[in-house]
């Protein structure tokens, strides 16, 4: 028999700190971007850019995903989390590992600090993966969402393993493969294999639930699952054994897979019965619109047009930035408004329900701040993207400051939610 999801939810003390640390590290990363926008006019394989990228992908995005997944697994898989202890150890090791890794890259210290950092990160990710795999094993129900989640965590393990290999190779230099090629595989495994598939797995369950959309064609998700994974495998083989045909094949498979998911999402949007979208859902929908930009960039990069050769470095950097800072970060900010207020609200008002007038989850943050943040971030990001493509320092400076203001507003709202004090009017 199906149970109510909240019966399986872990304690808020396990989940909420992930959001707090994630928001703070996102603020740190945004501050670094605003202080050093010139980094984004250089080649993407530079120490400072590697530092910021890893702060964003591990300290901000993965931090929030880890925390949110511990809360959402009971909703999606309808079972309890395998181990809260593993989740707590994974949280602390992720913080230490991320900070040390970013410090090592920023200061180009590629020996001891880097080795210690990757050890902590490996512990964190392995514990997280064990937790997800064993929780999924407990869940009786088979679903496409479950497949996406398990496969995405497998890609995360592969990404981190390859990252460690690449990091060790920076100081020991034992691999024959070109470092930039290794970086391409590492980035695609991480962004497409881990982030994108996890987003599809979780999003395909939650987004229709938030919009109250029923009778959706889940075959589109099955298609997306098959195509994205085949595309990733084909792309990996191509980089190891170069044959340009396989690269086009890989790009086409991933593109069609992503558009198959976007088509599912569009169907959910059209069939929604909750017409007006709140700020969190608006920002999430904008994020999915932004996702179309790197998909188009991928086509342009694959076409390898001769007159674009000089432009390729900017385009490659813009492609990665649009995926991480444009698409995924916008989505994570939007979905934070959909999950964090509920978690805190349940903690604060669980025993007060029905015993007086209590606020709703949406009352835990300022909608006005969320609205300004949403538009400031979107405008700031578009400016930033233009700055990268045009290699224009002033545009990058102005837009990174606008993005920083938006991230400050986001952090204010996150702290407002976390430190909410109970209010009742009997």
């Amino acid at each position: 028999m199906q149970q109510i999801a909240s019966k399986n939810a872990p304690p808020p003390s396990l989940v909420v700190p992930h959001f707090a640390v994630g928001a703070i590290l996102w603020l740190v990363a945004s501050t670094l971007i605003a202080l050093h926008p010139e980094i984004f006019t250089q080649h993407y394989f530079s120490p400072k850019l590697l530092a910021i990228t890893h702060l964003v992908v591990l300290g901000w995005i993965s931090m929030i995903i880890f925390g949110a997944l511990y809360q959402l697994i009971p909703v999606i898989l309808e079972t309890k989390l395998f181990s809260e202890k593993f989740a707590r150890i994974s949280f602390y090791t992720l913080i230490i590992g991320t900070l040390l890794l970013s410090y090592s890259f920023w200061n180009s210290q590629l020996k001891l600090p880097l080795h210690v950092a990757v050890t902590f990160l490996l512990i964190s990710v392995v514990l997280f993966a064990i937790n997800v795999f064993f929780t999924a094993t407990k869940a009786e129900k088979q679903s496409i969402e479950k497949k996406f989640i398990i496969t995405s965590v497998t890609w995360l393990l592969l990404t981190v393993s390859l990252g460690i290999l690449a990091a060790l190779n920076l100081s020991q230099s034992f691999l024959t493969i070109n470092h930039l090629e290794l970086l391409k595989i590492h980035a695609h495994w991480g962004i497409v294999g881990w982030f994108l598939q996890l987003i599809i797995g979780v999003g395909s369950k939650l987004l229709p639930m938030f919009m109250v959309s029923h009778h959706l064609n889940t075959k589109k998700l099955t298609l997306a699952y098959a195509l994205i994974n085949l595309g990733l495998i084909a792309g990996t083989i191509e980089i190891l054994v170069p044959t340009s045909i396989l690269l086009y094949f890989s790009a086409v498979l991933i593109l069609v897979g992503v558009f198959s998911f976007l088509s599912f999402l569009f169907e959910a949007y059209q069939k929604r019965i909750k017409k007006s979208l709140d700020k969190g859902m608006k920002q999430s929908m904008i994020a999915f619109l932004i996702l179309i930009i790197p998909m188009l960039m991928m086509i342009v990069l694959q076409l390898n047009l001769p007159n674009l050769t000089l432009f390729k470095t900017e385009l490659s950097l813009a492609y990665g930035v649009t995926l991480l800072i444009g698409f995924i970060s916008s989505l994570v900010m939007g979905q934070t408004y959909k999950t964090l207020p509920f978690i805190v609200w349940l903690k604060v008002y669980k025993n007060k329900v029905g015993k007086g007038n209590i606020p709703f989850p949406k009352d835990l943050y300022s909608e006005r701040i969320a609205s300004i943040q949403l538009w400031a971030y979107t405008i700031g990001f578009m400016g930033f993207l233009a700055g990268i493509l045009l290699n224009h320092n002033i545009t990058l400076q102005i837009s990174s400051i606008i993005m920083l203001i938006a991230v400050i507003l986001f952090a204010v709202n996150v702290l407002k939610i976390i430190f909410h004090q109970p209010k009742t009017h009997v």
Binding site: A5, H214, K275, F342, L346, G354, K362
Partner: protein, 105 residues
């Protein structure tokens, strides 16, 4: 055929409009989440049969707790018994005209 509610059951049914789904911001009656209310005068129990828009709904037990407290506060001599059922599942047809209007805003 549906059993006809007694005036007291109907009064309770309407009172349940005071319970709001915190995600959708619409009351549970207009959402069509409540399938039946039955007052057992012999055993002094109020039975409520209800569902949720989705089995994964994280607010499910908060909504049920809200109903329980409403019954305890308004019908002191009765004991609440809230049953969550998934069959028939919730569909758009469960929405009342008011429910559709609230969600369309």
């Amino acid at each position: 055929m549906c059993r006809e509610r007694t005036p007291k059951e109907q009064e309770l049914f309407l009172k349940l409009k005071g319970v709001i789904d915190p995600e959708l911001m619409v009351n549970i009656i207009d959402l069509g989440l409540v399938y039946d209310v039955k007052i057992d005068e012999e055993k002094n129990i109020i039975h409520v049969e209800m569902t949720l828009t989705s089995p994964g709904c994280p607010m499910g037990d908060m909504i049920m707790e809200d109903i329980k407290q409403l019954i305890i506060n308004n019908y002191t001599e009765y004991e609440p018994d809230i049953q969550l059922i998934w069959n028939p599942p919730w569909t758009l047809e469960n929405l009342t005209e008011d429910g559709k209007r609230f969600l369309n805003r």
